[in-house]
Symmetry: none
Subunit: 183 residues, 2 copies
DNA sequence: CTATCAATGTTATAATATGTTTTAAGATGT
DNA sequence: ACATCTTAAAACATATTATAACATTGATAG
């Protein structure tokens, strides 16, 4: 295997597994640990990985551990479902989905200056207060229950429920319903 | 074999295999490594290949891997629409959407060992050959035209088209239709 | 026939990659 | 805080590959 191939694969492996020992990489590619150290140097310089004693960690995954968990349920969130709550001290809280986002909103209500959701189909960022909330649909997305989907346009929400069923609510109604279902 | 013929074949080989050693090329064409070096010089000058110690790499494949761009249309791709083509040399090519993925599949067909898509609604990774392809729907997702959406289950595809319109096809039919629409 | 040229091979030297050994630094347990 | 173990980094040695210079071959024109 060419050195450049190995270097690429090392980078890929680290990102996939998040953590790896130098000794493991040495065995995988059948080269000495010194060679692995040398392969890693440019990746460290570029900030792609972080080296700790005995191993390496993907720089992104470190961020993820610190930042990518839902502020309400502590689940890891996916970008396309994320619900963002901007507070009056410029801090943004991120919930894993509209379900958690609505519940968190109730807790923080008086400090919230902005509320952002994602359009379920187009993944565009939208104003969560003007969004249309679909509950009780037959499509399950493997996030929190009772499930809540957000749409920018009522038209899309209607077309969606035509096929997948469910009920459409504006922001405040969805807020009340979810809250009542959780107590 | 004529020198010019060998040079052409070297270029082709490098693009196919992505990586190649000088020593391998030397054996394949039964000429000295020095001759291979000389053959490669113009390709390097043209920027078609990148030479590293001991071998050569196809320039395109390096750029693509680094930049998160579609292997077919060179657009930056989004994870939830990505279409992945795993080749028999363990290299994975990534297209920005099913549209580009299908067209790329045609080019690489005999070398493809696996084909992965994402379920449009649930974002789960699915077998692209068993997926259901929705064309001509009214929902536009700001990727390549003619637009192609992939679903794991026919049921979901049907429910989707009930609201948003469009036609459902299995893999091979979608492949043919997209190809014919692009010529 | 031989001068010339292009293509290729050969050899010597330089550059790069890798491994090994030694020394320094960090982790761990008492 | 110290002893011990593990890992990192530096220095050196070795192996591999690249490059440049020169040699060989074969074709062609004069």
């Amino acid at each position: 295997m060419l050195p450049i191939e190995r270097k690429k694969q090392i980078e890929k492996l680290i990102c996939e597994r998040e953590h790896l020992k130098i000794s493991e990489l040495s065995e995988i590619f059948n080269v000495s640990e010194m060679t692995i150290h040398r392969d890693l140097t440019p990746l460290i310089d570029e900030g792609k990985i972080i080296k700790t004693f005995g191993g390496v960690t993907c720089a992104q995954s470190i961020q993820r551990q610190q930042q990518n968990t839902c502020v309400y349920c502590y689940r890891e969130y996916q970008k396309h479902l994320a619900y963002r709550i901007v507070l009056n001290n410029d801090i943004t809280e991120i919930a894993c989905c509209a379900h958690c986002g609505l519940l968190r909103y109730r807790q923080r209500e008086e400090r919230v200056v902005q509320l952002l959701a994602r359009d379920f189909l187009r993944h565009t960022t939208i104003n969560a207060k003007k969004a249309f909330y679909v509950l009780n649909t037959s499509l399950h997305i493997n996030c929190c229950q009772p499930q809540v989907l957000t749409f920018e346009w009522e038209d899309h929400a209607k077309k969606f429920t035509k096929g997948f069923g469910g009920d459409i609510y504006p922001f405040h109604e969805a807020l009340t319903i979810i809250y009542e279902q959780m107590i």
